[in-house]
């Protein structure tokens, strides 16, 4: 298939990658720069780089509090996802009346973007008394249809004979799940963990709607509201931006394979 010399492909990709990386670099540079941010022309390399903007962020907003909120919500979402999706996925591998309708229901729910449900979802959350709470932020994300199907596919791939043999031996259901199903569907679990984490970590619209309390803000909310809180601290804003980006990117880079596998399997599902 190669018609072009290799160096040409490398050159093309290098240009594309540079274009993709420049925005990251520019913000990183701004967050480190020691010169006046608003002088023209802007310096390409940071002059007298320092880390003090990061210190400013740490003290001008309750960064740690936001981080904890984000982490708590992510943990609830990840645990909820893995447990609930695995349960639902397992149920869907069994035969029962109404299975077809349940699957249809799930597939049609997939067609409802979360964004079109925000108003009643807000009202429902208010009725449940979950406004301004971690659980309220996490609950809508606690089960994901794509991941239910990922689990179902993974459980379906486990040979029936194995489970039947265990069942005949009188192994209880919960033990079958923990000793056979879970170890054999590690990749589904990993996929679900990383997808759920990224979704919850980046989630913005929902916390924006239900969080009024300053103490309950998550990182994306804090980032979006930072400008209005602190004027005069442009450098700190971009330092904050980097501080928010790093955890997400780090986890993406660590679990890249599972993340991409999850996304493509989700995308291929009809």
């Amino acid at each position: 298939m190669t018609r072009y010399p290799k160096w040409a492909i490398h050159l093309g990709l290098a240009i594309i990658c540079t274009l993709m990386l420049i925005p990251f670099y520019w913000v990183l540079k701004t967050s480190l720069t020691g010169e006046n941010i608003f002088s023209y022309p802007p310096a390409i390399l940071p002059e007298n780089p320092h880390l003090f903007y990061y210190v400013d962020v740490w003290y001008s907003i309750p960064f740690f509090r936001y981080l904890v909120n984000s982490v708590v919500v992510s943990i609830i979402v990840v645990v909820g996802n893995v447990v609930l999706n695995a349960m639902a996925g397992y149920a869907l591998t069994r035969d029962f009346t109404g299975k077809g309708s349940v699957i249809m229901l799930f597939l049609s729910c997939m067609m409802i973007p979360f964004q079109v449900t925000i108003i009643p979802a807000y009202l429902i959350t208010k009725e449940l008394g979950l406004l301004n709470s971690h659980l309220g932020m996490a609950l809508p994300l606690c089960s994901t249809i794509v991941c239910i199907f990922v689990f179902k596919a993974s459980f379906d791939a486990i040979p029936k004979s194995l489970i039947d043999a265990a069942r005949i031996d009188g192994v209880p259901d919960w033990m079958i799940i923990f000793r056979i199903m879970v170890p054999l569907s590690q990749s589904a679990i990993a996929t679900n963990i990383i997808l759920a984490f990224i979704w919850s970590w980046n989630n913005f619209l929902w916390p924006l709607i239900i969080i009024r309390d300053n103490d309950m803000q998550t990182l994306p909310l804090g980032l979006a509201r930072f400008l209005t809180v602190v004027e005069d601290t442009t450098g700190a804003l971009y330092a904050f931006c980097i501080m928010v980006l790093v955890p997400g990117l780090m986890i993406f880079l660590l679990a890249q394979k599972q993340f991409i596998a999850g996304l493509t399997s989700g995308a291929a599902k009809g």
Binding site: H50, L51, F52, V55, D56, Y59, M250, L254, A255
Partner: protein, 127 residues
Amino acid sequence: MLRWSFLLNRYVVTFGTIAVAAALWNLYIAFNDDGIVEGRVVGPSGQPVAGAEVILSERTLLVTEPRQRVTTDEAGTFTITGHRYHRVWLKAVKPEIGASPQTEYRLYFRGANLHLEEPLRLEAGAS
């Protein structure tokens, strides 16, 4: 030995390193956040100035507010203790000689100890 080898994966290593680094950093902070600022005040020609007033200020939204004042001893040195800021402004004044320009010192954490390498230099005529 083998039982712990499952810990040797990139997740544990990465997050473990971060946790250790954070712990070390906090340990460092715990030992260095007495809020001590040490330095010297010198006159226009570089001789130590005794009895100069050193003012430590904090910047609020628009103005710098004086928070602490100390006076230098015979050798021109001064010590401020117990500040709780991560950005401090220092200025030395001696009415008979002059004043040093108000200078900002940024610190890596609140109440960090600061040892001034460069003395505060009074400029004649300034106030």
